[in-house]
């Protein structure tokens, strides 16, 4: 898949530093220009940026930031959407829009921590298994298969339930299920890259195994990883929200989107805004990461 991206990072093809021969357009400018040609990817990028802004500055943007916690305002309970409360109010009178905005931080935090952990565990394992192979590789990939033998949601639910649900547990549980996908991806890619000439060249020049694995093979995985990470952020958000919905994830009164959907359930179909808007937030966020991921896929694939 990624046969030729190596050129840039490998010592034999490099030589860019040696002389002022080539005038290189910075890679990010090509990226922006290419991505800009695909309207759907731009929509995805827009959504992702919006969610990031909400996740970072949410409490300052939300019209009623105090409503994110366990406040009560019975005078305004179950109000339908209005100019004052765009998304209506919930059963104790909290502003749903504010809770949805502040909730972006929880979802993004879960996704960010899970992905970082999963990459840090999965990628080295995948590369090591592919590069050294033999019994070590065999054992590592067998362990990987065992983790893959159970659907992520069920596994995560079981771990979260047995440990007692909370934010750190949710992150740990999802990461424990998720590293396997990165290990598998890194393994598959590294198997191909291992056969490339520049790896052989490094071997001949006497570079050690660890050095080759992490300075020759790893950099060539980045484009595949970037796409996978982008897509997976969306799926981790979905999974985290499902946990919250079942009461086995983040706990109330935190404004987690899945919990909010569950809390609105008893008020359906009359107070439809309680379930509709938090669910919509999840939906739009996941679509955003999906569109961006697909765009990046075309972009990085096109470089080949």
């Amino acid at each position: 898949m990624t046969n030729d991206i190596p050129a840039r990072d490998s010592p034999i093809a490099g030589g860019v530093e040696d002389g002022p021969v080539s005038v290189e357009v910075p890679a990010w400018r090509i990226a922006v220009a290419t991505l800009g040609k695909s309207p759907l990817s731009m929509v995805g990028l827009g959504i992702v940026l919006l969610i990031l802004v909400l996740a970072i500055f949410g409490p300052w943007i939300a019209p009623f930031p105090d409503d994110a916690g366990a406040t009560v305002n019975f005078a305004e309970r179950l109000q339908p959407p209005s100019w004052k409360h765009w998304f209506g109010t919930d059963i104790v009178g909290r502003d749903v829009l504010s809770r949805v905005i502040v909730g972006a931080r929880i979802s993004m935090m879960i996704a960010a921590f899970v992905i970082v952990l999963a990459v840090l565990i999965g990628v080295p394992i995948g590369i090591i298994a592919a590069y050294w192979g033999g019994w070590l590789g065999n054992i590592l990939m067998r362990i990987n298969e065992v983790f893959l033998a159970i659907p992520s949601l069920v596994f995560v639910l079981a771990v979260a339930a047995l440990l007692g649900p909370s934010l750190p547990v949710v992150i740990a549980a999802i990461a424990l299920a998720w590293w396997t996908w990165f290990a598998r991806l890194a393994y598959g890619e590294a198997l191909h890259i291992k056969e490339e000439q520049f790896v052989e060249a490094a071997q001949v020049s006497g570079a050690g195994g660890l050095r080759i694995a992490f300075t020759e093979i790893l950099p060539n995985l980045t484009s595949v990883l970037v796409v996978k990470i982008t897509l997976d952020i969306g799926y981790v958000i979905l999974l985290g929200a499902a946990l919250g919905f079942l009461g086995l994830g983040v706990q109330p009164p935190d404004p987690e989107w899945g919990i909010m959907v569950a809390e609105g359930r008893d008020q359906l179909p009359n107070a439809w805004w309680l379930t509709t808007f938090p669910g919509l937030a999840i939906f739009v966020t996941v679509i955003g990461f999906n569109l961006l991921g697909d765009g990046l896929n075309d972009l990085l694939g096109a470089r080949q």
Binding site: E145, I150, V154, L157, A158, L246, L268, G279
Partner: protein, 336 residues
């Protein structure tokens, strides 16, 4: 045959690993399920006694051995919330889950495959864009949210479908033959009952099918387009082979074998989705049972359900691998 045999061995190895994994997680992680099961009023002696009855005071290796021995004897222990044998409970709930799963999976394939072919053949037409929009939404939509909205609108608001359960409380289920109410009601020629049962099945099945359907559509579209760009397609068309024959007999078959590898993974999403859908629609299946066990920290039941789900998932993947070998004979030889 040797191919199938090898897959079976692999299945056994993975299941062994899974049982160790689940066992370790359930025993080594902190938290005291016995204390939880007996409630806050339990005395220390009661807790100690129940722990002893369940063999929790034994060394871990002995406990694991007991678990495995029990599995082979069909004894999965006792639920910590209902104090009934778990194996019996699972046997009661399994048919409902199987019925929902098989019906829903057929739906996903019957809709997803034609849509995948259509969007690939009419690439970049308006049909393609609509199909892809559906696919994007299907993958990104939170199952629990979709389920609630559909239930609120079609059941509570417009009263087209019953909102909860598998059959009305005052209706007698058909005599048990296969365990599927749909099939069993047909076996006794009770058409009224058939449609009654179907009306309960439709909503959960459609909601559950949405995401796998979308994934099938996306994958099949991608591999069809890939396949249609290959030389043999060009040659066949240049030689005047009818387009329909070419697409349906050759391109689809090749594209489908590529899609099939991933359909195995799809079962994973599917089972996870079933846990949520069954909970929302009160479908009396393994998923709802599992969610309850999880919420009440009934760890005997959690272990049993997790192993059953793992087995179902692994078995489904084995079937896919065998099918794949049948579609693509190259794989039967040589490496896996």
């Amino acid at each position: 045959m040797r191919f199938i045999f090898r897959r079976m061995i692999e299945l056994a190895v993975v299941m062994f690993g899974l049982s160790v994994l689940i066992f370790v997680i359930s025993r080594v992680l902190p938290g005291d399920p016995v204390r939880f099961a007996l409630g806050p009023q339990a005395t220390e002696e009661q807790i100690a006694q129940l722990s002893r009855e369940m063999g929790l005071d034994q060394p871990l290796v002995v406990q694991y051995w007991r678990l495995i021995k029990g599995l082979f004897q069909g004894d999965l222990g006792v639920s910590l919330t209902t104090f009934r044998p778990i194996a019996g409970d699972l046997a009661t709930f399994l048919p409902a889950s199987l019925e929902l799963a098989l019906f829903s999976m057929s739906l996903a394939i019957l809709v997803g495959v034609p849509l995948g072919v259509m969007t690939a053949v009419h690439r970049n037409s308006s049909r393609d864009y609509i199909g892809r929009a559906v696919a994007f939404s299907g993958v990104a939509i939170p199952v629990f949210w979709f389920a609630l909205l559909v239930q609120a609108l079609l059941s509570f608001q417009w009263r087209i479908f019953p909102p909860l359960g598998r059959i009305d409380a005052d209706v007698r289920p058909p005599p048990h033959v296969t365990g599927s109410f749909l099939i069993d009601s047909l076996l006794v020629f009770d058409i009224g009952l058939f449609f009654h049962v179907l009306s309960f099945l439709i909503l959960p099945a459609v909601v559950l099918a949405a995401s796998p359907m979308a994934m099938i559509l996306r994958l099949l579209r991608a591999s069809m387009i890939d396949e249609m760009g290959k030389d043999y397609v060009l040659t066949a068309r240049a030689n005047g082979m009818p387009r329909n024959l070419l697409i349906h007999k050759y391109v689809l078959r090749n594209a489908f074998s590529a899609t099939l590898t991933i359909i195995g993974l799809l079962f994973g999403f599917f089972i996870g989705g079933a846990f949520i859908v069954e909970t929302v629609f009160s479908w009396p299946g393994i998923g709802r049972y599992g969610v309850r066990a999880l919420q009440f920290k009934d760890f005997n039941a959690i272990i049993a359900v997790t192993l059953l789900v793992g087995l179902a998932y692994a078995a489904a993947n084995t079937v896919v691998a065998v099918l794949y070998g049948w579609l693509d004979p190259r794989l039967r030889l040589g490496r896996r």
